[in-house]
């Protein structure tokens, strides 16, 4: 019977069926962070249970770490007890923690791919909604809450009901200066924040194929913002080339076996999708969110939409969003003054993202009244960027250059804006209060964030790119 890629990975990981009808799906890798793991480990201990596979379990410190230069585990008052609990848990249960001062430190969804811990065709668990990021490498990743985290620690499986299958074929070619971030924001705008609920989404088509691995990770990262259970892109030569030689990836004959098995990791031609759509991306322009969820999005040269045209509950939500954001229907976002810029998060803080931003920033300067922050997705990304001189570009332009962590994506640990400020952010959520109470977040690509930082306004980054430095 023809199968989708997700079904193939699913079926090859089914351990059994529970009496309640749920399928038990084996998790090949489990990466947890300090915000939720301490409670799960405490409860595991109280129940006198242990970690079944500490060798497949990893811990990172990302959500509650300070990112100020020179930080250590104690720089964040909130984070210090969580980091300590992670260290104690690692000692007690025997899993590997990538601690704050280690070269592997960083955001879970950035670290797992770059270490080669994520394999095409494998499953991956992480107690964070952006677990879906690693689907960009052709893995099937599952987000979960804290109880499920405890469950994975104890059993190495997740009990799930089989999701439905959705495919989005991204046709055409992206124009210069249009990125994976613009594609996924456009899709969320089109299908809505619950448009893929209950589904695993496979991103396919020429655009998905043409994207770099970094771009595919960005694309899959925001599958959850469409309500998807998870998202993935079928692996190809690019995927295997990207993973070759990474520290935790297999090598030699074992690596050849991975590559050979990869040939079968595609959806069959006649596989059934419950929902199968084609989206033409040829005319796509850089996207900017205007409201308080990621579906409130327009092209940078489009006027803001009319709530009356939406109708119903959603029209009320749009009016509430306009009120919160200090904007009105029919306005243009271009030209709006910007107070804060954040280039970071699991969505857009890999090396390619920082290169995109630096290309706009080079030879320009952040004006007075604007505060701009770059927070690399991992310590390794930070070191690579510094080796390439990107930190110097950002610093010379008046940006702050920080250590790695989740930072301003969730307004954490002092990395927050103040009420009423307009913040252009490369992160994934523009919810009310997400970057601090009353903060007005606009989600954009790294180039668009950089362009806003050096002009002090929302602007089409392509204009700056064409003008050169």
């Amino acid at each position: 019977m023809p199968q989708t890629l997700a079904e193939k990975i699913w079926d090859s990981h089914v351990v059994g069926r529970r009496i309640d009808g749920k399928e038990l799906l084996y998790m090949d890798r489990h990466v947890m962070h300090e915000l939720h793991a301490p409670r799960a480990m405490r409860r595991l201990g109280e129940a006198k249970r242990t970690v079944r596979r500490p060798d497949l379990t990893f811990g990172v410190l990302d959500h509650a770490v300070a990112t100020v230069p020179g930080r250590d585990a104690n720089s964040s008052a909130d984070g210090a007890p969580l980091a300590k609990a992670m260290r104690e848990g690692a000692d007690r249960f025997g899993f590997r923690l990538f601690d704050i001062d280690e070269p592997e430190q960083g955001i879970a969804h950035v670290v797992a791919p770059e270490l080669g811990m994520v394999m095409p065709g494998a499953t991956h668990a992480c107690p964070d909604s952006h677990a879906c990021t690693v689907g960009g490498l052709g893995a099937l990743a599952f987000a979960c809450g804290t109880s499920e985290l405890e469950h994975v620690l104890a059993t190495q499986v997740i009990a799930l009901t089989r999701p439905k299958q959705m495919r989005i074929r991204l046709d055409g070619r992206l124009g210069a200066g249009v990125t994976a971030k613009d594609v996924i924001l456009h899709l969320i705008g089109r299908f809505g924040i619950a448009g893929a609920r209950g589904h695993i989404v496979e991103f396919a088509g020429t655009v998905a194929r043409d994207l770099s691995i970094e771009g595919r990770l960005t694309l899959c990262n925001m599958a959850i913002e469409m309500g998807a259970r998870t998202g993935l892109v079928a692996p190809d030569e690019k995927t295997f080339a990207w993973l070759t030689g990474r520290p935790w990836a297999p090598s030699g004959a074992a690596w050849e076996a991975v590559v050979n098995a990869g040939a079968a990791l595609t959806s069959d031609d006649d596989a059934h999708f419950d929902c199968d759509v084609i989206v033409d991306c040829n005319a796509l322009e850089p996207q900017v969110t205007w409201g308080t969820d990621p579906s409130h999005v327009v092209g940078v040269n489009e006027p803001l939409p009319d709530p009356d045209a939406a109708g119903g509950d959603r029209a009320d939500a749009m009016r509430r969003a306009y009120d919160y954001m200090g904007l009105q229907p029919g306005m243009m976002l271009a030209g709006q003054p910007v107070h804060r810029v954040f280039i970071g998060s699991c969505t857009n803080a890999r090396l390619e993202d920082l290169e995109d931003a630096a290309a706009i920033v080079r030879g320009r300067h952040v004006p007075d009244g604007v505060r701009a922050l770059v927070v690399p997705g991992s310590t390794a990304v930070k070191k690579q960027a510094e080796a390439a001189g990107l930190d110097a570009v950002f610093r010379a332009a008046g940006f702050e250059w920080h250590e790695s962590g989740c930072s301003m994506c969730a307004g954490a640990n002092g990395d927050a804006a103040v009420p009423g400020q307009r913040c252009l952010s490369t992160s994934n959520r523009n919810f009310e209060g997400r970057q601090g109470p009353g903060v007005r977040t606009h989600l954009v690509s790294p180039a668009m964030a950089a362009a806003a930082a050096v002009t002090g306004t929302i602007v089409d980054a392509r204009v700056l790119a064409r003008a050169g430095a």
Binding site: H36, M119, D128, T155, V157, D313
Partner: protein, 210 residues
Amino acid sequence: MEPFAALTGVAAPLLLPDVNTDQIAPASPEARSLHPDYAKLFFAGWRTRSDRTPDPEFVFNRPQFRVAKILVAGENFGCGSSRESAVWAPMAIGIRCVVARSFADTYRENCLKNGVLPIVLEPHVATAFEAGVVAVDGSAPYTVDLNVQRITCPDGTAVAFAISAAERTALLEGLDDIGLTLKHVEDIAQWESRAGNERPWLQRLRPPPA
């Protein structure tokens, strides 16, 4: 998990679509502490105005809803982050049942894992039910009976709801989710052994050379 007993209590209407978990339990120093006071997290941003005084209009600040046990919500309740604190926060103020037009996937699962009953009513039933909850305005209690899958309104009318037999049993008996899975510990071991032969790169993970 605590079994779900029959529930009688006030139903509080929060009839907005797409209420996300960042609203239900916002990130804050309290949320990041090792032992958060989850009641303090509950809609922390919406309970207070920008001058930090309580917003008297917010439903859970109104006196009759401080003892609410049922939250009545709109479409796509609990979207966004997978944080389980967005279930623990309502539980901390006494909510044990959420009635919504629909739920985000992970939020619904997090409810079930904590003995909170998530109910989705059919659209034609939901409209009348929501109007009733608004009209009653916390003046009289609703009763949720999971055994017979029915909500009884203060005027004596009843609304039926659907839930899978397995989820119903798990809630009624307070079944331990991990315990259920551990009945399959032999299956897990066999799977690992088979996968170790077929896909050794996944089962035998070796740290990189130092």
